[in-house]
Protein backbone atom coordinates (compact mmCIF):
# COMPACT_ATOMS: atom_id res chain seq x y z
CA UNK A 1 0.00 0.00 0.00
CA UNK A 2 2.75 2.35 1.06
CA UNK A 3 4.90 1.30 -1.89
CA UNK A 4 2.13 1.83 -4.46
CA UNK A 5 1.53 5.30 -3.09
CA UNK A 6 5.19 6.12 -3.36
CA UNK A 7 5.23 5.06 -7.00
CA UNK A 8 2.12 7.14 -7.67
CA UNK A 9 3.66 10.21 -6.03
CA UNK A 10 6.68 9.87 -8.28
CA UNK A 11 4.40 9.63 -11.35
CA UNK A 12 2.46 12.73 -10.26
CA UNK A 13 5.67 14.65 -9.78
CA UNK A 14 6.87 13.69 -13.27
CA UNK A 15 3.50 14.77 -14.72
CA UNK A 16 3.65 18.20 -13.04
CA UNK A 17 7.22 18.75 -14.18
CA UNK A 18 6.32 17.80 -17.76
CA UNK A 19 3.47 20.31 -17.82
CA UNK A 20 5.82 23.01 -16.55
CA UNK A 21 8.36 22.14 -19.23
CA UNK A 22 5.78 22.20 -22.05
CA UNK A 23 4.38 25.52 -20.78
CA UNK A 24 7.83 27.07 -20.57
CA UNK A 25 8.96 25.96 -24.02
CA UNK A 26 5.54 26.77 -25.58
CA UNK A 27 5.36 30.32 -24.22
CA UNK A 28 8.97 30.87 -25.23
CA UNK A 29 8.25 29.89 -28.83
CA UNK A 30 4.85 31.57 -29.17
CA UNK A 31 5.39 34.88 -27.42
CA UNK A 32 7.57 37.87 -28.21
CA UNK A 33 10.74 38.70 -26.27
CA UNK A 34 10.25 36.06 -23.58
CA UNK A 35 13.42 34.34 -22.36
CA UNK A 36 13.16 30.77 -21.03
CA UNK A 37 13.26 32.19 -17.48
CA UNK A 38 10.38 34.58 -18.29
CA UNK A 39 8.40 31.71 -19.79
CA UNK A 40 8.92 29.51 -16.74
CA UNK A 41 7.87 32.44 -14.55
CA UNK A 42 4.73 32.98 -16.65
CA UNK A 43 3.85 29.27 -16.45
CA UNK A 44 4.22 29.18 -12.66
CA UNK A 45 2.28 32.42 -12.18
CA UNK A 46 -0.47 31.07 -14.40
CA UNK A 47 -0.76 27.64 -12.79
CA UNK A 48 -0.64 29.08 -9.29
CA UNK A 49 -3.56 31.31 -10.37
CA UNK A 50 -1.57 34.31 -9.18
CA UNK A 51 -1.44 36.31 -12.43
CA UNK A 52 0.53 39.43 -11.49
CA UNK A 53 -0.20 40.91 -14.89
CA UNK A 54 3.42 41.90 -15.60
CA UNK A 55 3.67 39.15 -18.23
CA UNK A 56 0.73 37.59 -20.03
CA UNK A 57 -0.16 35.99 -23.40
CA UNK A 58 -2.06 39.17 -24.17
CA UNK A 59 0.64 41.72 -23.33
CA UNK A 60 3.47 39.76 -24.87
CA UNK A 61 1.58 38.80 -28.01
CA UNK A 62 3.93 39.30 -31.01
CA UNK A 63 2.61 41.57 -33.78
CA UNK A 64 2.51 38.69 -36.26
CA UNK A 65 1.18 36.13 -33.73
CA UNK A 66 -1.97 34.11 -34.15
CA UNK A 67 -4.13 35.04 -31.10
CA UNK A 68 -6.23 31.87 -31.48
CA UNK A 69 -3.30 29.54 -31.27
CA UNK A 70 -1.80 31.42 -28.33
CA UNK A 71 -5.05 31.55 -26.36
CA UNK A 72 -5.79 27.90 -27.04
CA UNK A 73 -2.29 26.98 -25.80
CA UNK A 74 -2.87 29.04 -22.65
CA UNK A 75 -6.23 27.34 -22.03
CA UNK A 76 -4.60 23.93 -22.49
CA UNK A 77 -1.81 24.72 -20.04
CA UNK A 78 -4.25 26.07 -17.46
CA UNK A 79 -6.60 23.09 -17.62
CA UNK A 80 -4.04 20.29 -17.84
CA UNK A 81 -1.57 22.03 -15.53
CA UNK A 82 -4.02 22.80 -12.72
CA UNK A 83 -5.44 19.31 -12.98
CA UNK A 84 -2.06 17.68 -12.58
CA UNK A 85 -0.97 20.03 -9.80
CA UNK A 86 -4.11 19.26 -7.80
CA UNK A 87 -3.71 15.55 -8.47
CA UNK A 88 -0.09 15.68 -7.30
CA UNK A 89 -1.00 17.50 -4.11
CA UNK A 90 -3.72 14.95 -3.40
CA UNK A 91 -1.33 12.03 -3.78
CA UNK A 92 1.28 13.70 -1.56
CA UNK A 93 -1.27 14.29 1.19
CA UNK A 94 -2.49 10.72 1.01
CA UNK A 95 1.08 9.46 1.19
CA UNK A 96 1.84 11.46 4.34
CA UNK A 97 -1.43 10.66 6.09
CA UNK A 98 -1.34 6.96 5.33
CA UNK A 99 2.18 6.61 6.83
CA UNK A 100 0.77 8.05 9.99
CA UNK A 101 -2.22 5.74 9.88
CA UNK A 102 -0.05 2.67 9.33
CA UNK A 103 2.04 3.59 12.34
CA UNK A 104 -0.99 4.14 14.52
CA UNK A 105 -2.51 0.86 13.44
CA UNK A 106 0.78 -0.88 14.21
CA UNK A 107 0.87 0.65 17.68
CA UNK A 108 -2.67 -0.49 18.37
CA UNK A 109 -1.85 -4.03 17.28
CA UNK A 110 1.26 -3.98 19.49
CA UNK A 111 -0.69 -2.87 22.55
CA UNK A 112 -3.20 -5.63 21.95
CA UNK A 113 -0.44 -8.26 21.74
CA UNK A 114 1.19 -6.92 24.90
CA UNK A 115 -2.07 -6.93 26.83
CA UNK A 116 -2.50 -10.63 26.05
CA UNK A 117 0.86 -11.49 27.66
CA UNK A 118 1.15 -13.22 31.01
CA UNK A 119 4.21 -13.77 33.22
CA UNK A 120 6.33 -11.76 30.85
CA UNK A 121 9.37 -9.59 31.57
CA UNK A 122 9.71 -5.88 30.95
CA UNK A 123 13.07 -4.51 29.83
CA UNK A 124 13.41 -0.74 30.23
CA UNK A 125 16.18 0.46 27.95
CA UNK A 126 17.41 -1.20 24.75
CA UNK A 127 21.11 -0.28 25.02
CA UNK A 128 23.93 -2.83 25.08
CA UNK A 129 22.93 -4.38 28.43
CA UNK A 130 19.29 -4.42 27.36
CA UNK A 131 20.31 -6.14 24.17
CA UNK A 132 22.15 -8.95 26.01
CA UNK A 133 19.22 -9.27 28.42
CA UNK A 134 16.79 -9.71 25.54
CA UNK A 135 19.05 -12.29 23.91
CA UNK A 136 19.05 -14.38 27.09
CA UNK A 137 15.29 -14.03 27.55
CA UNK A 138 14.73 -15.09 23.97
CA UNK A 139 17.13 -18.04 24.27
CA UNK A 140 15.36 -19.29 27.37
CA UNK A 141 11.95 -18.86 25.68
CA UNK A 142 10.62 -16.15 27.98
CA UNK A 143 8.28 -13.49 26.59
CA UNK A 144 9.33 -9.87 27.07
CA UNK A 145 8.41 -6.31 26.20
CA UNK A 146 11.01 -3.63 25.53
CA UNK A 147 10.45 -0.01 26.42
CA UNK A 148 12.82 2.17 24.42
CA UNK A 149 12.69 5.84 23.59
CA UNK A 150 14.62 5.81 20.31
CA UNK A 151 12.68 4.64 17.28
CA UNK A 152 15.93 4.11 15.43
CA UNK A 153 17.24 1.74 18.11
CA UNK A 154 14.01 -0.26 17.95
CA UNK A 155 14.39 -0.61 14.16
CA UNK A 156 17.95 -1.92 14.71
CA UNK A 157 16.81 -4.45 17.30
CA UNK A 158 13.96 -5.62 15.08
CA UNK A 159 16.53 -7.06 12.69
CA UNK A 160 17.53 -9.51 15.39
CA UNK A 161 14.22 -9.95 17.21
CA UNK A 162 11.58 -10.58 14.54
CA UNK A 163 8.49 -10.30 16.66
CA UNK A 164 9.81 -7.76 19.10
CA UNK A 165 7.12 -6.43 21.39
CA UNK A 166 7.90 -2.87 22.34
CA UNK A 167 6.63 0.44 23.59
CA UNK A 168 8.40 3.24 21.78
CA UNK A 169 8.54 5.88 24.47
CA UNK A 170 10.23 7.08 27.65
CA UNK A 171 10.17 4.41 30.38
CA UNK A 172 10.37 6.94 33.19
CA UNK A 173 6.74 7.92 32.68
CA UNK A 174 4.23 5.87 34.63
CA UNK A 175 1.62 5.73 31.89
CA UNK A 176 4.26 4.47 29.46
CA UNK A 177 5.39 1.61 31.71
CA UNK A 178 1.77 0.73 32.26
CA UNK A 179 1.44 0.08 28.54
CA UNK A 180 3.86 -2.83 29.03
CA UNK A 181 1.36 -4.38 31.49
CA UNK A 182 3.43 -4.70 34.66
CA UNK A 183 0.35 -6.02 36.49
CA UNK A 184 0.64 -9.26 34.47
CA UNK A 185 4.43 -9.40 34.41
CA UNK A 186 6.83 -11.59 36.40
CA UNK A 187 9.66 -9.12 36.45
CA UNK A 188 10.97 -5.80 35.33
CA UNK A 189 14.59 -4.93 34.57
CA UNK A 190 15.63 -1.27 34.50
CA UNK A 191 18.79 -0.79 32.44
CA UNK A 192 18.57 2.81 31.29
CA UNK A 193 21.94 4.54 31.00
CA UNK A 194 21.14 7.00 33.77
CA UNK A 195 20.94 5.29 37.17
CA UNK A 196 18.59 7.98 38.46
CA UNK A 197 16.08 6.98 35.80
CA UNK A 198 16.40 3.38 36.96
CA UNK A 199 15.78 4.47 40.54
CA UNK A 200 12.63 6.22 39.41
CA UNK A 201 11.36 3.09 37.64
CA UNK A 202 12.12 0.93 40.69
CA UNK A 203 10.19 3.28 42.96
CA UNK A 204 7.12 3.47 40.79
CA UNK A 205 7.07 -0.29 40.19
CA UNK A 206 7.54 -1.05 43.89
CA UNK A 207 4.53 1.12 44.68
CA UNK A 208 2.47 -0.64 42.07
CA UNK A 209 3.55 -4.02 43.42
CA UNK A 210 2.62 -3.03 46.96
CA UNK A 211 -0.83 -1.85 45.90
CA UNK A 212 -1.62 -4.91 43.80
CA UNK A 213 0.08 -7.43 46.13
CA UNK A 214 1.30 -9.36 43.07
CA UNK A 215 4.58 -11.16 42.55
CA UNK A 216 6.82 -8.88 40.52
CA UNK A 217 10.57 -9.02 40.73
CA UNK A 218 12.30 -5.70 40.21
CA UNK A 219 15.92 -5.42 39.12
CA UNK A 220 18.02 -2.40 38.30
CA UNK A 221 21.43 -1.59 36.93
CA UNK A 222 23.53 0.94 38.80
CA UNK A 223 26.90 2.42 38.07
CA UNK A 224 28.11 3.51 41.50
CA UNK A 225 27.22 0.58 43.71
CA UNK A 226 28.10 2.07 47.10
CA UNK A 227 26.18 5.25 46.44
CA UNK A 228 23.14 3.81 44.71
CA UNK A 229 22.58 0.35 46.18
CA UNK A 230 21.11 1.56 49.50
CA UNK A 231 18.78 3.92 47.66
CA UNK A 232 17.67 1.19 45.27
CA UNK A 233 17.14 -1.17 48.18
CA UNK A 234 14.92 1.22 50.07
CA UNK A 235 13.06 2.04 46.87
CA UNK A 236 12.13 -1.64 46.66
CA UNK A 237 14.53 -3.29 44.21
CA UNK A 238 14.88 -7.08 44.61
CA UNK A 239 18.16 -7.13 42.77
CA UNK A 240 20.75 -4.42 42.20
CA UNK A 241 23.66 -5.02 39.87
CA UNK A 242 26.64 -2.87 39.08
CA UNK A 243 28.04 -4.32 35.85
CA UNK A 244 31.29 -2.45 36.53
CA UNK A 245 31.66 -3.99 39.97
CA UNK A 246 30.90 -7.59 39.03
CA UNK A 247 33.03 -7.43 35.92
CA UNK A 248 35.91 -5.90 37.88
CA UNK A 249 35.69 -8.79 40.33
CA UNK A 250 35.84 -11.19 37.48
CA UNK A 251 38.74 -9.33 35.87
CA UNK A 252 40.77 -9.46 39.06
CA UNK A 253 40.16 -13.17 39.50
CA UNK A 254 41.07 -13.79 35.85
CA UNK A 255 44.32 -11.94 36.43
CA UNK A 256 45.50 -14.45 39.02
CA UNK A 257 43.71 -17.62 38.10
CA UNK A 258 44.78 -19.30 34.89
CA UNK A 259 41.70 -19.28 32.71
CA UNK A 260 40.21 -22.73 32.84
CA UNK A 261 36.86 -23.28 31.25
CA UNK A 262 34.72 -25.02 33.80
CA UNK A 263 32.00 -27.54 33.19
CA UNK A 264 29.40 -24.81 33.77
CA UNK A 265 31.02 -22.45 31.22
CA UNK A 266 31.03 -25.18 28.65
CA UNK A 267 27.46 -26.10 29.45
CA UNK A 268 26.22 -22.52 29.10
CA UNK A 269 27.97 -22.18 25.74
CA UNK A 270 26.91 -25.55 24.34
CA UNK A 271 25.97 -24.73 20.77
CA UNK A 272 23.79 -27.79 20.25
CA UNK A 273 21.07 -26.52 22.55
CA UNK A 274 20.30 -23.92 25.18
CA UNK A 275 21.17 -25.63 28.49
CA UNK A 276 20.51 -23.80 31.73
CA UNK A 277 20.35 -24.42 35.44
CA UNK A 278 16.75 -23.50 36.18
CA UNK A 279 14.19 -23.77 38.96
CA UNK A 280 10.56 -24.76 39.21
CA UNK A 281 8.23 -24.33 42.16
CA UNK A 282 5.90 -27.19 43.09
CA UNK A 283 2.31 -26.06 43.41
CA UNK A 284 -0.40 -27.62 45.58
CA UNK A 285 -2.27 -29.11 42.67
CA UNK A 286 0.80 -30.65 41.05
CA UNK A 287 0.91 -34.44 41.06
CA UNK A 288 4.53 -34.20 42.21
CA UNK A 289 3.38 -32.83 45.57
CA UNK A 290 3.44 -35.42 48.33
CA UNK A 291 5.45 -37.95 46.36
CA UNK A 292 9.00 -39.14 46.81
CA UNK A 293 11.59 -38.45 44.14
CA UNK A 294 11.41 -42.09 43.10
CA UNK A 295 7.61 -42.15 42.80
CA UNK A 296 7.46 -38.80 41.00
CA UNK A 297 9.40 -40.39 38.08
CA UNK A 298 10.67 -36.99 36.98
CA UNK A 299 13.48 -38.42 34.86
CA UNK A 300 11.13 -40.75 32.99
CA UNK A 301 8.66 -37.95 32.31
CA UNK A 302 11.01 -35.07 31.47
CA UNK A 303 14.49 -36.45 30.95
CA UNK A 304 15.74 -34.25 33.79
CA UNK A 305 17.35 -34.92 37.13
CA UNK A 306 16.59 -32.83 40.17
CA UNK A 307 20.03 -31.69 41.31
CA UNK A 308 18.81 -29.93 44.45
CA UNK A 309 15.67 -29.13 46.41
CA UNK A 310 15.08 -26.03 48.48
CA UNK A 311 12.42 -26.43 51.13
CA UNK A 312 11.99 -22.80 52.05
CA UNK A 313 12.67 -19.56 50.30
CA UNK A 314 16.04 -18.67 51.82
CA UNK A 315 16.93 -22.04 53.26
CA UNK A 316 19.63 -24.56 52.55
CA UNK A 317 19.66 -26.64 49.42
CA UNK A 318 19.36 -30.39 49.65
CA UNK A 319 21.79 -31.45 46.95
CA UNK A 320 21.64 -34.84 45.26
CA UNK A 321 18.17 -35.70 46.59
CA UNK A 322 17.87 -39.47 46.97
CA UNK A 323 15.00 -41.67 45.82
CA UNK A 324 13.28 -41.44 49.21
CA UNK A 325 13.40 -37.63 49.42
CA UNK A 326 9.89 -36.21 49.64
CA UNK A 327 8.59 -33.44 47.40
CA UNK A 328 6.10 -31.07 48.96
CA UNK A 329 4.11 -28.05 47.81
CA UNK A 330 6.19 -24.85 47.60
CA UNK A 331 9.42 -26.81 47.26
CA UNK A 332 11.77 -25.34 44.70
CA UNK A 333 13.38 -27.93 42.43
CA UNK A 334 16.68 -27.08 40.75
CA UNK A 335 17.33 -28.85 37.47
CA UNK A 336 19.80 -28.55 34.66
CA UNK A 337 19.02 -29.22 31.03
CA UNK A 338 17.56 -28.16 27.71
CA UNK A 339 14.99 -25.35 27.95
CA UNK A 340 12.14 -27.33 26.38
CA UNK A 341 12.59 -30.05 29.01
CA UNK A 342 12.68 -27.43 31.75
CA UNK A 343 9.43 -25.91 30.46
CA UNK A 344 7.88 -29.35 30.48
CA UNK A 345 8.97 -29.90 34.08
CA UNK A 346 7.60 -26.47 35.01
CA UNK A 347 4.22 -27.40 33.55
CA UNK A 348 4.14 -30.58 35.64
CA UNK A 349 5.30 -28.77 38.79
CA UNK A 350 2.68 -26.07 38.38
CA UNK A 351 0.00 -28.73 37.89
CA UNK A 352 -1.08 -27.46 34.48
Amino acid sequence: MYKILRQRSIKALVLVLTVFAIGTVGFHLLLDNLTLMDSLYLTVVTLATVGYGDLSPHINMPPDGNPYVIKLFAILIILVGMGSVLYGLGIMTEYLVSGDLARRRNEKRMLKLISSLKDHYIVCGGGRSGHYIMQELKKTLRPFVLIEKSEERIRELQHEFDDLLYVNDDATQDDIINQAMPENASGIIAVLPDEKDNLFIVMSMAQKKKRSGKQLRIAAKVEHFKKMAPKMKSAGADCIISPELISSRRMVSEMFRPSVTTFLDRMLNDDRAVIRVEEVTVSHNSDLAGKTVKDARIHDRTGLLVVAIRKDAAGKFISNPGPEQSIEPNDVLISMGEMDKIINLRRIAEGK
Binding site: G187, R249, M255, S259, L305
Partner: protein
Protein backbone atom coordinates in the same frame (compact mmCIF):
# COMPACT_ATOMS: atom_id res chain seq x y z
CA UNK B 1 56.67 13.46 39.46
CA UNK B 2 56.03 11.93 36.06
CA UNK B 3 58.63 10.70 33.69
CA UNK B 4 61.11 9.29 36.20
CA UNK B 5 59.88 5.94 34.95
CA UNK B 6 59.19 2.82 36.90
CA UNK B 7 62.01 0.66 35.66
CA UNK B 8 62.58 -0.65 39.17
CA UNK B 9 59.13 -2.30 39.31
CA UNK B 10 59.02 -6.01 38.62
CA UNK B 11 56.11 -8.44 38.53
CA UNK B 12 53.79 -5.48 38.87
CA UNK B 13 50.28 -4.96 37.55
CA UNK B 14 49.63 -2.05 35.19
CA UNK B 15 46.20 -0.44 35.09
CA UNK B 16 45.59 1.75 32.04
CA UNK B 17 42.78 4.27 32.33
CA UNK B 18 41.27 5.61 35.51
CA UNK B 19 37.55 5.02 35.23
CA UNK B 20 34.99 3.29 37.41
CA UNK B 21 36.39 -0.14 36.52
CA UNK B 22 39.94 0.87 37.43
CA UNK B 23 38.79 2.18 40.81
CA UNK B 24 37.01 -1.08 41.56
CA UNK B 25 40.06 -3.07 40.42
CA UNK B 26 42.39 -1.10 42.70
CA UNK B 27 40.06 -1.68 45.61
CA UNK B 28 39.74 -5.40 44.87
CA UNK B 29 43.48 -5.87 44.41
CA UNK B 30 44.32 -4.48 47.83
CA UNK B 31 43.30 -7.44 50.02
CA UNK B 32 44.87 -9.88 47.56
CA UNK B 33 48.14 -8.00 47.73
CA UNK B 34 48.10 -7.99 51.50
CA UNK B 35 47.40 -11.69 51.56
CA UNK B 36 50.25 -12.58 49.25
CA UNK B 37 52.69 -10.10 50.75
CA UNK B 38 55.63 -12.39 50.12
CA UNK B 39 55.47 -11.98 46.38
CA UNK B 40 53.25 -8.95 46.21
CA UNK B 41 52.38 -7.42 42.89
CA UNK B 42 52.64 -3.66 43.09
CA UNK B 43 50.16 -1.61 41.09
CA UNK B 44 50.99 1.05 38.56
CA UNK B 45 48.23 3.29 37.26
CA UNK B 46 48.59 5.15 33.95
CA UNK B 47 46.18 7.89 32.98
CA UNK B 48 46.54 10.95 30.77
CA UNK B 49 44.66 13.25 33.13
CA UNK B 50 46.72 14.84 35.90
CA UNK B 51 43.54 15.78 37.69
CA UNK B 52 42.32 12.18 37.81
CA UNK B 53 45.72 11.02 39.09
CA UNK B 54 45.74 13.64 41.83
CA UNK B 55 42.28 12.58 42.89
CA UNK B 56 43.43 8.97 43.04
CA UNK B 57 46.42 10.01 45.17
CA UNK B 58 44.16 11.54 47.81
CA UNK B 59 42.47 8.18 48.24
CA UNK B 60 45.51 5.94 47.74
CA UNK B 61 48.54 8.03 48.76
CA UNK B 62 51.07 5.23 48.22
CA UNK B 63 49.96 4.03 44.83
CA UNK B 64 52.39 4.23 41.89
CA UNK B 65 51.07 6.33 39.07
CA UNK B 66 52.16 7.86 35.82
CA UNK B 67 50.63 10.67 33.84
CA UNK B 68 50.78 9.73 30.21
CA UNK B 69 49.03 8.16 27.32
CA UNK B 70 49.13 4.38 27.65
CA UNK B 71 48.70 3.98 23.90
CA UNK B 72 52.21 5.39 23.54
CA UNK B 73 54.76 2.56 23.50
CA UNK B 74 57.34 4.76 25.23
CA UNK B 75 54.97 5.21 28.14
CA UNK B 76 54.53 1.44 28.36
CA UNK B 77 58.31 1.04 28.28
CA UNK B 78 58.66 3.53 31.11
CA UNK B 79 56.10 1.49 33.01
CA UNK B 80 58.56 -1.40 32.58
CA UNK B 81 55.97 -3.49 30.84
CA UNK B 82 58.66 -5.97 29.82
CA UNK B 83 58.94 -7.18 33.40
CA UNK B 84 55.31 -6.72 34.46
CA UNK B 85 53.11 -9.55 35.67
CA UNK B 86 49.87 -8.32 34.16
CA UNK B 87 48.00 -5.46 32.60
CA UNK B 88 44.39 -4.26 32.67
CA UNK B 89 43.58 -2.14 29.61
CA UNK B 90 40.44 -0.44 30.92
CA UNK B 91 40.28 2.84 29.03
CA UNK B 92 36.91 4.07 27.86
CA UNK B 93 37.91 3.75 24.22
CA UNK B 94 37.65 0.29 22.69
CA UNK B 95 40.29 1.12 20.11
CA UNK B 96 42.77 2.20 22.78
CA UNK B 97 42.24 -1.03 24.73
CA UNK B 98 42.83 -3.05 21.58
CA UNK B 99 46.00 -1.09 20.82
CA UNK B 100 47.36 -1.51 24.35
CA UNK B 101 46.57 -5.23 24.27
CA UNK B 102 48.52 -5.71 21.07
CA UNK B 103 51.41 -3.52 22.19
CA UNK B 104 51.63 -5.26 25.57
CA UNK B 105 51.67 -8.70 23.98
CA UNK B 106 54.43 -7.62 21.62
CA UNK B 107 56.57 -6.11 24.32
CA UNK B 108 56.06 -8.93 26.80
CA UNK B 109 55.03 -12.39 25.55
CA UNK B 110 54.36 -13.73 29.06
CA UNK B 111 52.32 -10.85 30.49
CA UNK B 112 48.73 -11.60 31.56
CA UNK B 113 46.29 -9.31 29.78
CA UNK B 114 42.74 -9.01 31.08
CA UNK B 115 40.86 -6.56 28.88
CA UNK B 116 37.45 -5.01 29.00
CA UNK B 117 35.07 -4.35 26.15
CA UNK B 118 31.56 -3.09 25.62
CA UNK B 119 31.12 -5.15 22.49
CA UNK B 120 31.87 -8.86 22.93
CA UNK B 121 31.29 -9.89 19.35
CA UNK B 122 33.36 -7.38 17.44
CA UNK B 123 35.98 -5.92 19.74
CA UNK B 124 35.98 -9.01 21.98
CA UNK B 125 37.26 -11.27 19.21
CA UNK B 126 39.81 -8.72 18.13
CA UNK B 127 41.13 -8.45 21.69
CA UNK B 128 41.61 -12.22 21.85
CA UNK B 129 43.40 -12.19 18.52
CA UNK B 130 45.50 -9.28 19.72
CA UNK B 131 46.76 -11.37 22.62
CA UNK B 132 44.38 -10.88 25.55
CA UNK B 133 44.24 -13.81 27.97
CA UNK B 134 40.76 -12.92 29.02
CA UNK B 135 38.13 -10.44 27.84
CA UNK B 136 35.33 -9.25 30.08
CA UNK B 137 32.29 -7.24 29.05
CA UNK B 138 30.48 -5.41 31.84
CA UNK B 139 27.36 -5.13 29.69
CA UNK B 140 27.22 -8.84 29.02
CA UNK B 141 28.03 -9.93 32.58
CA UNK B 142 25.67 -7.37 34.08
CA UNK B 143 22.90 -8.22 31.65
CA UNK B 144 23.12 -11.96 32.23
CA UNK B 145 23.27 -11.50 35.98
CA UNK B 146 20.20 -9.25 35.96
CA UNK B 147 18.24 -11.83 33.97
CA UNK B 148 19.34 -14.68 36.23
CA UNK B 149 18.36 -12.86 39.39
CA UNK B 150 14.97 -11.99 37.96
CA UNK B 151 13.96 -15.19 36.19
CA UNK B 152 15.60 -17.82 38.42
CA UNK B 153 16.52 -16.38 41.82
CA UNK B 154 16.85 -19.76 43.56
CA UNK B 155 18.91 -21.31 40.81
CA UNK B 156 21.15 -18.23 40.98
CA UNK B 157 21.60 -18.72 44.73
CA UNK B 158 22.42 -22.34 44.08
CA UNK B 159 25.04 -21.52 41.46
CA UNK B 160 26.57 -18.91 43.76
CA UNK B 161 26.90 -21.59 46.40
CA UNK B 162 28.66 -23.82 43.87
CA UNK B 163 31.08 -21.12 42.81
CA UNK B 164 32.00 -19.64 46.18
CA UNK B 165 34.32 -21.88 48.08
CA UNK B 166 33.00 -22.54 51.55
CA UNK B 167 33.31 -25.28 54.08
CA UNK B 168 31.83 -27.75 53.26
CA UNK B 169 32.18 -26.82 49.61
CA UNK B 170 29.51 -27.94 47.20
CA UNK B 171 30.99 -28.10 43.74
CA UNK B 172 30.96 -29.77 40.37
CA UNK B 173 33.66 -32.32 39.64
CA UNK B 174 34.54 -34.34 36.60
CA UNK B 175 35.80 -37.84 37.33
CA UNK B 176 37.43 -39.96 34.65
CA UNK B 177 36.82 -43.67 34.97
CA UNK B 178 40.28 -45.30 35.11
CA UNK B 179 40.96 -48.38 33.06
CA UNK B 180 39.94 -51.60 34.76
CA UNK B 181 37.71 -49.70 37.15
CA UNK B 182 35.13 -51.79 38.91
CA UNK B 183 32.51 -49.32 37.70
CA UNK B 184 33.10 -49.86 34.00
CA UNK B 185 31.04 -52.37 32.15
CA UNK B 186 28.00 -51.55 34.25
CA UNK B 187 24.90 -49.51 33.57
CA UNK B 188 24.48 -46.33 35.59
CA UNK B 189 21.60 -47.70 37.61
CA UNK B 190 23.58 -50.82 38.52
CA UNK B 191 26.40 -48.99 40.24
CA UNK B 192 24.01 -47.42 42.77
CA UNK B 193 26.12 -44.36 43.17
CA UNK B 194 23.57 -42.59 45.35
CA UNK B 195 23.53 -45.42 47.87
CA UNK B 196 27.30 -45.67 47.96
CA UNK B 197 28.38 -42.03 48.01
CA UNK B 198 25.25 -39.89 47.93
CA UNK B 199 25.82 -38.58 44.43
CA UNK B 200 23.78 -38.33 41.24
CA UNK B 201 25.46 -38.15 37.85
CA UNK B 202 24.46 -34.91 36.19
CA UNK B 203 26.32 -35.41 32.92
CA UNK B 204 28.45 -37.96 31.17
CA UNK B 205 30.99 -37.81 28.41
CA UNK B 206 31.77 -41.05 26.62
CA UNK B 207 35.46 -41.81 26.10
CA UNK B 208 34.99 -41.56 22.32
CA UNK B 209 32.93 -38.34 22.36
CA UNK B 210 33.91 -34.74 22.88
CA UNK B 211 30.47 -33.62 24.01
CA UNK B 212 28.56 -34.16 27.23
CA UNK B 213 25.21 -35.85 27.53
CA UNK B 214 23.26 -34.16 30.30
CA UNK B 215 20.95 -36.00 32.69
CA UNK B 216 22.00 -39.46 31.50
CA UNK B 217 19.46 -42.20 31.98
CA UNK B 218 20.02 -45.27 34.13
CA UNK B 219 20.60 -47.55 31.19
CA UNK B 220 23.75 -45.83 29.93
CA UNK B 221 26.78 -48.10 29.99
CA UNK B 222 29.91 -46.87 31.77
CA UNK B 223 33.21 -47.73 30.14
CA UNK B 224 36.89 -47.05 30.74
CA UNK B 225 37.85 -43.50 29.97
CA UNK B 226 34.35 -42.06 30.30
CA UNK B 227 34.04 -38.83 32.22
CA UNK B 228 31.26 -38.60 34.76
CA UNK B 229 30.21 -35.24 36.11
CA UNK B 230 28.88 -35.03 39.64
CA UNK B 231 27.83 -32.26 41.96
CA UNK B 232 28.57 -32.77 45.60
CA UNK B 233 30.64 -32.15 48.71
CA UNK B 234 34.34 -32.94 48.80
CA UNK B 235 33.95 -36.03 50.99
CA UNK B 236 31.34 -37.47 48.64
CA UNK B 237 33.55 -36.83 45.65
CA UNK B 238 36.57 -38.40 47.41
CA UNK B 239 34.47 -41.50 47.99
CA UNK B 240 33.52 -41.61 44.33
CA UNK B 241 37.12 -41.26 43.19
CA UNK B 242 38.18 -44.09 45.47
CA UNK B 243 35.31 -46.17 44.20
CA UNK B 244 36.28 -45.50 40.60
CA UNK B 245 39.86 -46.53 41.32
CA UNK B 246 38.62 -49.63 43.03
CA UNK B 247 39.91 -48.77 46.51
CA UNK B 248 36.59 -49.29 48.20
Amino acid sequence: MVSVGFKHLKEHIIICGLGTTAMYIIELLEPIQKETAKHAHENLVIDSSEEAINKLKTQWPNINCMIGNATDDDVLEQANIREAYGIFPVLSSEKDNLYITMAARQLNPRIRIVARTADVHNTGNKLFKGGANSVISPNLMGGLRLVSEIVRPHATDFLDELLHQADPWLHIEEVIIPSDSSLSGHMLKEIELHKRCGLNIIALKKYNHSLYAYNPSGTVLIEDGDTIVVLGYSDQIDKLEKLARGED
